[in-house]
């Protein structure tokens, strides 16, 4: 264990600076497992992941480039220059140079001679998709060019906490699915729900279920939404589990899907075999928006991104169109329905009356209720704008008609697109759209947000 700690520390400090000598494949694998374990506990995982992937990625392109250069130059002396036009930190260039020199030497090309007539001019470059290492081989008046791709860095993640402490843990990333060659093709994630070690996602194309296997999510089954009414832009979605946890129901505008949840051992990866009961159908039936005593359902507009305001069972009130709704236990007993109107006003419906909520002007369109046992026992978690392009989440209490902040903001990695409480109300799954990086479309992640009493 102590060895693991030392190596994790070295990884943390050196990140990209690793030589193949101590980073033999077996050690590399062991370190990755140990370091990821440590990091998972500390909530700082991706630094080691970046370092490991990147260090490995220096060796392969260096070997390939040296191979191509030596194929042109043949054994002999040459002058090696390296310039860095990429986002690789300048601290790493000496390491890359060392690896390249060793690889060239293995091919009989010695690079120590500054007076040599031959020059190998290496440029560490990159485009939107990948790093590109280019070698210009200058022999007399002739210049020849070879180039090799050299991988892509992985962005680090971070977590933060505040006063009534919200925590988040990233469960799933679309980029991981892509890297693991899972069946993922730029879908929009609309909602997420967990059940018995599985993660179910509703995307704009399908209902898909993952099972945790070897620290990754393996696709268990998926159910295509099919060709129904086109989804609106900015589509909303919802997932609910049946009381016995055996069925998941997905709602998207104009579509409803129902799928029996089966044990992981029964599944066939990446397929939806006929053994498993599941189907999607065109539907304008109301969506479940609140479970518990009220069990409210609301009609969603088929062409828009909001609920129409018609709720079943009826509240006896004419409700405005709204983006989200949640059932909120009240301090004096009973429950109230909270809705976030499309005009930006949050309203609370209780005792046959609808009243505006003060202090909610800076909330985003989505919120969910979290049963924390802290303070009033229940908090509303709503999104706010965070730093840069990223939103934050914050817990609020609603003792009367004014929302009072109950936690510091919890920074997220991008825009909060959907919040949904778990069946037991003790956690919230958050769908986050990550800022688009040059050369890539939008990626998503699903975070589990929980709270600790302060």
């Amino acid at each position: 264990m102590s060895s693991g700690i030392i190596r994790a520390t070295m990884l943390e400090q050196n990140r990209w600076i690793m030589t193949r000598h101590w980073f033999a494949p077996a050690v590399k694998k062991a370190c990755l497992v140990i370091a990821l374990g440590l990091i998972s506990a500390a909530g700082q995982g991706s630094h080691c992941q970046v370092a490991t992937v990147s260090a490995g990625s220096w060796e392969q392109p260096a070997a390939s480039l040296a191979d191509q250069v030596s194929g042109i130059l043949g054994p002999g002396q040459a002058r090696l220059t390296i310039r860095n036009l990429s986002t690789i930190s300048g601290d790493n260039v000496p390491t890359i140079r060392r690896i390249l020199e060793q690889d060239l030497k293995a091919h009989g090309v010695l690079t120590g001679d500054q007076e040599s007539a031959n020059t190998i001019r290496v440029t560490l470059s990159e485009n939107m998709r990948e790093r590109l290492w280019v070698a210009e081989i200058l022999e007399g008046n002739e210049t020849r060019v070879v180039m090799v791709p050299a991988g892509i860095p992985i962005a680090p993640a971070h977590t933060t906490a505040g006063a009534v402490v919200l925590n988040r843990k990233t469960l799933w990333r679309s980029s991981d699915q892509r890297q693991q060659n899972q069946n993922w093709a730029g879908e929009q994630v609309l909602s997420a729900v967990e059940s018995n070690g599985s993660l179910h996602l509703l995307t704009d194309r399908r209902l898909v279920s993952y099972v945790s296997a070897d620290s990754t999510w393996r696709e268990q089954w998926s159910l295509a939404l099919g060709a129904h009414q086109p989804l609106p832009r900015d589509p909303q979605g919802a997932l609910t589990l049946s009381d016995d946890g055996r069925t998941v129901t997905a709602y998207a505008p104009g579509v409803e899907c129902e799928r029996t949840i089966v044990a992981a051992s029964d599944s066939i990866p990446g397929t939806d075999s006929g053994n498993h009961a599941g189907q999607c159908k065109s539907s304008d039936d109301p969506w479940s928006v609140a479970n518990g005593a009220l069990r409210a359902k609301a009609f969603h507009s088929v062409n828009h991104n909001f609920f129409t305001g018609v709720i079943t069972p009826s509240t006896g009130l004419e409700l405005p169109a709204f983006y989200s709704a949640a059932l909120l236990p009240r301090p004096l007993g009973g429950s109230a329905l909270l809705i976030n109107g499309i005009d930006g006003t949050v309203e609370i419906i209780e005792n046959g009356a609808m009243k505006p909520v003060a202090g909610a002007r800076d909330w985003g369109s989505d919120f969910a209720v979290l049963q924390t046992g802290c303070g009033a026992g229940t908090q509303i978690v709503a999104s706010n704008s965070g730093e840069g392009q990223a939103d934050s989440l914050r817990a609020y209490e609603l003792p009367a008609q004014e929302a009072l902040a109950a936690s510091a903001p919890l920074g997220m990695n991008g825009s909060v697109m959907a919040l949904s409480a778990s069946p037991d109300g003790k956690s919230i799954l958050t769908v986050v759209r990550l800022p688009a990086e040059p050369g890539r479309g939008n990626e998503y992640e699903v975070d589990r947000v929980t709270a600790l009493c302060n």
Binding site: G186, G344, T345, G441
Partner: protein
């Protein structure tokens, strides 16, 4: 570690609560000003609002399904089959069938098509070619291959093409092209009800419209980006979206490749970028920008007057003409190039854009983000060169580009962005893969958001 955590914690504590992401609102009219023609080829603003292609390219450059839901290739990319999305209708209610797609593509591509044969096969469209077409899905995402039911369009007519896009043409009155939301759009209804595009509006007038609340989206040419920023306009700038090139006619005195190479070496691109474009443009001597290729630095863009003189070999060619269109910045570029070339020993006259057979001419070519190989193929085709890169690899692209540019008939000068200034009531404004505004996903802020501001 502790220090980093402390800093993060502090940053979180000092974060001021601001409105979170609210969902976009429906309704309203978006007022847009443009200097050119919305139906200009190849990159007029209206095309992609009204029409869709079989495929599309997302902002990350990846090819995505559009009217085709999937596609497959056989026989080493000599045959492609695109399956159409079921249930899609043109804006006049007629269904999008494979026959309609074939008719549309036949009408829009009469010559030099990437395919040699095309036919409808059930709900699919099949493309065949004697040469492999590895980039066909990406190529079909281009504006040249958008699918329409009627192509008889004109700037001043009230009718326009009928497509499947988010908006349909509803009129053209007093220089304003009106587009209304296509409620049945297969991608979902757009958020705004109407877009009104005021065409042929000079940029300064557009800016005035914006300041007076009469426009929501106006153009900011690259050469005026700095000015717009100084005026604190809210500017959204795309990555490189246009390539400015000089065409050198391979005839007369310039049939000599050394003369053309001398011209390339005599041009001071840095001065063009710094002086005329206020550093908004990026100096380049390659077709693909560095961000797409990763190897653009291999094409030196520095001026070398001595080498230009050497290549000219003491010869003074007869007077040559340089044509430039009416755009003021391009006129300035032409004048500065003429000055550079005179310093290089050439006698250059700047002429009107409609001059017959100019020796030199300035051109702007759109660069769509996407697969570099497909982007290069489209660019080469736009420049009259049909040889596609052999494969997707960077080395192969470099080889194709090097071979093309070594002829010195096309001299890349500057990579330029597209930019737009927007009013404070516009939200979710983004540029598409071609740098043009993606107005179908823009919306006008709702009453709640206005109050929060």
């Amino acid at each position: 570690m502790l220090r980093r955590f402390a800093i993060s914690f502090f940053l979180v504590l000092v974060t001021v609560s601001a409105p979170g992401r609210t969902r976009p609102h429906y309704g309203g009219t978006l007022h847009v000003g443009i200097e050119g023609d919305p139906w200009a080829r190849p990159d007029g603003l209206a095309w992609r609002l009204v029409l869709d292609g079989l495929t599309t390219v997302d902002t990350g450059g990846a090819v995505q399904p559009s009217l085709a839901i999937d596609w497959k290739t056989e026989n080493n990319a000599h045959r492609w089959q695109f399956h159409l999305r079921p249930g899609v209708q043109f804006q006049d209610g007629t269904p999008v069938t494979s026959v309609a797609v074939v008719e549309s593509l036949s009408a829009s591509c009469r010559a030099k098509c990437p395919w040699s044969e095309m036919r409808a096969l059930g709900s699919a469209v099949v493309f065949l070619s004697d040469a492999p077409m590895p980039q066909l899905p990406a190529v079909l995402a281009g504006n040249a291959f958008l699918i329409s039911r009627a192509l008889n369009t004109g700037t001043s007519g009230t009718s326009g093409p009928i497509g499947t896009g988010a908006f349909q043409v509803s009129g053209f009155v007093n220089g304003v092209l009106s587009l209304t939301a296509n409620t049945n759009c297969w991608r979902g209804r757009p958020f705004v009800d109407t877009i009104e595009i005021r065409v042929h509006r000079p940029v300064q007038d557009q800016w005035m419209d914006l300041s007076l609340g009469r426009a929501d989206v106006v153009e900011v040419p690259a050469e005026q980006l700095r000015q717009a920023q100084q005026q604190r306009m809210q500017v959204v700038e795309s990555p490189t979206a246009l390539l400015l090139l000089l065409h050198v006619a391979d005839e007369g005195a310039l049939a000599n490749p050394n003369m053309r190479a001398a011209i390339a070496l005599a041009i001071d691109r840095t001065a063009l970028s710094n002086v005329i474009f206020q550093k908004a443009g990026q100096v380049t001597a390659s077709l693909l920008p560095q961000s797409l290729s990763g190897y653009a630095f291999l094409f030196p863009a520095e001026r070398d007057l001595n080498k230009a003189h050497d290549l000219r070999g003491g010869l003074t060619p007869p007077a040559i003409t340089l044509a430039a269109d009416g755009n003021r910045a391009i006129q300035l570029v032409a004048q500065r190039i003429a000055l550079n070339l005179r310093e290089g020993g050439f006698n250059v006259q700047v002429t009107a854009p409609n001059a017959v057979h100019p020796n030199l001419s300035l051109h702007e070519v759109p660069i769509q983000n996407g697969n570099p190989s497909a982007v290069l193929e489209v660019m080469l085709e736009n420049l009259g060169h049909s040889a596609a890169p052999a494969d997707d690899g960077a080395a192969s692209l470099y080889k194709s580009e090097r071979e093309f540019l070594d002829a010195k008939t096309w001299i890349p000068l500057l990579d330029l962005p597209r930019a737009y200034a927007i009013s404070s009531r516009v939200r979710d404004f983004q540029n598409g893969a071609d740098g043009l505004p993606d107005l179908a996903n823009a919306s006008i802020i709702g009453p709640g958001e206005e109050a929060a501001r």
